[in-house]
Amino acid sequence: MDGWDSSTKSTVSKIPLLKTRAGPRDGDAWKQRLKEEYLALIKYMEMNKANDNDWFRISANPEGTKWKGKCWYVHNLLKYEFELQFDIPVTYPATAPELELPELDGKTAKMYRGGKICLTIHFKPLWAKNCPRFGIAHALCLGLGPWLAAEIPYLVDTGMITHKDNLSQT
């Protein structure tokens, strides 16, 4: 698990692992899988809240295939908030979901077209290795979290993004 800072790694190890190998088209198995996803997410969210590290909000469609929400990052005492969305691929869990930050599309090099974030080279093998035990929570923790921490300060510094005046305190 090289490539991540120690706090991330310790957090990830605390998120419950999943068991069911099922995609969105697998019917009940998917439901089962979705339940496990939720449990993991709840746990992760609780952990974040407890550590005063609350940084995202997501919700899914009833099938649990399309997820949307927000994520934010505090830099220099300023909260930068972004829209977050992603779909569950058909090949899930073998394929990791592609996390999108549409607001930042075209603003950074570490992003595919359509605002999909570009993960590190370490992510994919790790995911593959941990299939089907890793779920959405893991993907957020290992993918989006570090990406935000690395990119937002850079983007702010380069002036690509500026803070909106209407800061909302959660």
Binding site: K35, M45, D52
Partner: protein, 878 residues
């Protein structure tokens, strides 16, 4: 859609909307608080816990403290600080405020204690007390870990309320327990009959208690106090009788005190005195004070003490009334009557011109100092002393001046008498005089004594002998020379000395023990005979041993001798005074007092006497010596003339013999006499020789021999030789050598004849002869003188011519004088010889013719006298 899934969804939603716990770093918080304080939103006196993690307001702390106190009732500030996690300083400040605001609370040694706590303690104490009977406060204090004093204070306030018992001496007791102890103490103290140290009693009681209720009570420490207080209570109640002494540490039972006092009283009233030692033996620690206080108690004091001991009261009053004027001396407490007794005795003695020993008037337990003190408080003695009618001697004896004077007179008389007696004997001391008679007696008694000593010795003899020994031994070193004399003098007595020497020790022991025994009786006068005997023997010893003393210069009777004399005159003095030596000290001190004056008296008398005597003797010796000198010179002069007669042997012999018989004899006598006199000066010996010395006549050969023999040993043989050399056959040279030997021996130097002395001597002799010749009226005696004169004139030698040698001398002169003169001389000589022979024969009844012839011859001689004188004197002139 699955309900479960929906639940999960909802749960997730909830989780997302739950409020996130805001985490601030400590640093941030601190900064925030500081900011708030800066802004005045928070009080400045915000506290924080010891850990530094919490902030806390003063009010909160106070509330917490109060809660804590309420919960625990007793808590120390330190504990409070620890349990609340607040600094002690703040805690204490708050505690102070809390206590100030709440009267139920108290701060004791850093502990906050509420009054409720004390109630609990009191209840607990009461429980323990009721269970054990007695509890020590110290123990309780230890148990509750509070100060004993504080606890005592608290318990005192609770006594009778929550605690039912009695507090005393750091102990809590129940009434029952106190009653028990009281009974015990009462029993124990009632059993005491002699003064006892109470702590010891307490220890015993405590031990008993401990044994009795082993384990029931933890400790019975500090019961001494209870015992003591109980005892005091008992005493005050009158349950037990006695007094406490020494700060309540010793108990003197009334019964003991009573018996003590009654015994003192009994003794005092019987004997009129009581010694402090005796009182001390009754374990009264300070007898003097006791007696003084006791016997001088005022009525008031007696009344005070009366309720303690009625008996004592009566007794004290009685004794006080009876002996108001008793006196405390150094070791004894004595009644006034002793003083009056002594007073009377002193008065009597002084008035009668006698003496008395105070020591014999008082009981034996009186010390010397006491007696002295008693004596000094006698009025009559004081008066007599002031008027110098009496003196105190030997500390306790009063001797009237009359007695002293009498003694002095007697001694003086004795002394002078002895001086008188000694005069004819030329050197005798008083002691000798004292002894003289006894020597004879001694000698006469000696044989019988020897016999008696062989058998069982009579004790007085033994005594006397031992006495002799002691004096003999003392004296012997003074003069070895004297030993011989003493032996010679005492004759048979010497054997006795050696004999008694052997048994001397025993005898002395016997003597001392006997004298001690006697001491008491002496005054009775029963053993005066014994004393007499003692005296005799003493005198004997003094007599024989006196002479060495006489050889010394101090011839005054020694103190011992005076002692004996005093005792002889006043036998009852023997035991007087304090006994330190065999005779009483009074006699000693009398002797000592009298002796110096006697000594001076004696020395003046003696000096006068002795001086005169010695002067006379010396003078005599001197004159003898000068006479000897002259004689010797003459002798030498005459002996020179003898040399001229070398050729005529017969004449020489005659002349020699004549010289020996005349001048040499004279010299010998002088020498011997001088020796004898000297010896007398030296050792005061008087004997028959004195008579010989006194009479100034030529001695006989026998006399000379005895004298020569009496010369001290080395010289005596020489002297004897000299005397023998006088006799006949020897010649002058022999005598001279013998004389020289004697002179050498005696260490004298006499003038030898030399030219210087010879000439004036010869001249004076010549003149003398010439004068004699001139004056001579007798024709017969004229002849030798004329011849001698002629001889001197002619030969310049002096000569002594015996009658027989005249003819020879005349013939000898023939050569040197004129013929006519010689002829006349011859004729005169022949006539003289004829006359003498006629005179010799005419002693018978003679016829007239012989007398006629004699007359004729005389006439012839007378006629020729002038002529002869002329011859002699003319030749003298020539």
């Amino acid at each position: 859609m699955d309900a479960e899934l929906r639940d999960l969804q909802r749960l997730f939603e909830e989780a997302q909307h739950a409020k996130a716990s805001v985490r601030l770093s400590e640093r941030n918080v601190v900064e925030l608080v500081l900011k708030l304080q800066e802004l005045g939103l928070l009080d400045a006196d915000l506290l924080h816990t010891v850990s530094g993690k919490e902030y806390m307001t003063q009010e909160h702390l106070r509330a917490e403290i109060e809660a804590e106190i309420k919960r625990l009732r007793r808590i120390s500030a330190v504990e409070l600080a620890a349990s609340l996690g607040v600094d002690l300083y703040h805690c204490e400040r708050q505690v102070e405020q809390v206590i100030a605001s709440n009267s139920d609370l108290m701060l004791v040694q850093g502990e906050i204690i509420s009054s409720k706590y004390w109630d609990i303690v009191a209840e607990e104490v009461n429980d323990t007390l009721q269970e054990a009977g007695q509890v020590s406060i110290v123990e309780l204090a230890r148990h509750f870990s509070v100060g004993a004093e504080l606890l005592t204070g608290i318990l005192e306030s609770q006594l009778g309320r929550l605690v039912h018992g009695k507090l005393g001496g750091g102990q809590l007791y129940t009434e029952a327990y106190v009653a028990k102890i009281k009974a015990m103490v009462c029993g124990a103290v009632r059993a005491l009959l002699v003064p006892t140290s109470l702590p010891g009693v307490w220890i015993n009681l405590r031990q008993e208690l401990r044994e009795r209720d082993e384990g029931a009570t933890g400790g019975t420490i500090g019961e001494g106090g209870l015992f003591q207080s109980v005892l005091n209570e008992l005493v005050n109640e009158g349950a037990i009788k006695g007094t406490l002494r020494g700060g309540g540490t010793s108990w003197i039972p009334a019964v003991f005190a009573h018996s003590q006092r009654s015994s003192v009283e009994a003794f005092f009233s019987q004997n009129g005195y009581i010694s402090f030692d005796a009182v001390r033996k009754l374990s009264i620690p300070q007898p003097k004070q006791f007696l003084q206080v006791w016997l001088a108690l005022t009525i008031f004091q007696i009344a005070l003490t009366a309720f303690i001991a009625d008996l004592w009261f009566l007794m004290a009053r009685y004794s006080q009334a009876k002996y108001p004027e008793s006196i405390a001396l150094e070791t004894v407490f004595v009644h006034q009557s002793y003083i009056s007794l002594m007073d009377a005795a002193a008065e009597e003695a002084i008035d009668a011109g006698g003496w008395f020993d105070a020591l014999q008037l008082v009981p034996s337990s009186f010390g010397t100092h006491d007696t002295v003190a008693l004596l000094s408080s006698c009025l009559s003695v004081q008066k007599a002393l002031k008027e110098s009618r009496a003196t105190i001697m030997a500390e306790t004896c009063v001797v009237s001046s009359a007695l002293m004077k009498m003694l002095m007179d007697r001694f003086e008389k004795e002394l002078l008498a002895s001086l008188e007696n000694s005069a004819p004997a030329s050197s005798v001391t008083m002691s000798k005089q004292l002894g003289d008679g006894n020597i004879a007696e001694n000698q006469s008694r000696a044989p019988s004594r020897l016999v008696s000593s062989e058998s069982q010795l009579h004790d007085t003899d033994e005594y006397s002998k031992s006495k002799q020994i002691s004096s003999f031994q003392v004296d012997s070193p003074i003069g070895k020379k004297m030993d011989k004399k003493q032996k010679a003098d005492n004759g048979a007595a010497t054997s006795k000395f050696s004999r008694s020497e052997m048994m001397g020790d025993d005898a002395i022991e016997a003597k001392t023990s006997r004298t001690k025994k006697k001491a008491g009786k002496v005054r009775g006068g029963k053993n005066i005979p014994v004393d007499d005997l003692q005296l005799q023997s003493l005198k004997t010893t003094k007599g024989s041993s006196g002479r060495p003393a006489a050889a010394d210069d101090s011839i005054v009777p020694s103190e011992e001798l005076m002692l004996d004399k005093i005792i002889e005159w006043f036998p009852d003095i023997t035991g007087a005074g304090v006994e330190e030596c065999e005779t009483g000290r009074l006699a000693n001190s009398l002797a000592a007092t009298l002796r110096p004056s006697l000594m001076s008296l004696w020395s003046t008398a003696k000096q006068a006497k002795f001086g005169a005597k010695a002067e006379a003797r010396r003078h005599r010796v001197d004159s003898l010596l000068t006479r000897f000198n002259e004689a010797y010179l003459n002798f030498q002069l005459f002996s020179k003339a003898l040399d001229l007669f070398d050729e005529e042997k017969s004449t020489e012999t005659v002349l020699h013999r004549h010289l020996l018989r005349t001048t040499a004899s004279e010299i010998t006598d002088l020498i011997l006499r001088a020796h004898a006199l000297e010896q007398m000066v030296e050792d005061g010996e008087t004997s028959l020789t004195v008579e010989l010395l006194v009479i100034d006549e030529t001695l006989s050969t026998a006399q000379r021999l005895t004298l020569a023999k009496s010369v001290p040993p080395p010289a005596s043989s020489k002297a004897v030789a000299m005397v023998e050399s006088l006799d006949g056959k020897q010649n002058v040279q022999a005598f001279e050598s013998a004389l020289q030997a004697v002179l050498e021996e005696s260490g004298r130097r006499f003038k030898r004849l030399d030219k210087k002395t010879e000439k004036p001597l010869l001249q004076s002799y010549h003149k003398d002869l010439a004068l004699q010749v001139e004056k001579e009226a007798d024709p017969v005696t004229l002849l030798p003188k004329v011849v001698a004169l002629l001889f001197v004139t002619v030969h310049n030698r002096a000569i002594q011519i015996p009658g027989r040698a005249i003819a020879a001398t005349v013939a000898f002169l023939q050569k040197s004088i004129p013929d006519n003169a010689h002829k006349t001389l011859m004729q005169y000589q022949a006539a003289t010889v004829a006359l003498l022979s006629m005179l010799q024969t005419s002693t018978l009844e003679e016829s007239d013719c012989t007398s006629d012839r004699i007359r004729e011859k005389e006439e012839f001689l007378v006629n020729h006298m002038a002529e002869l004188k002329k011859i002699a004197l003319s030749s003298n002139v020539a």
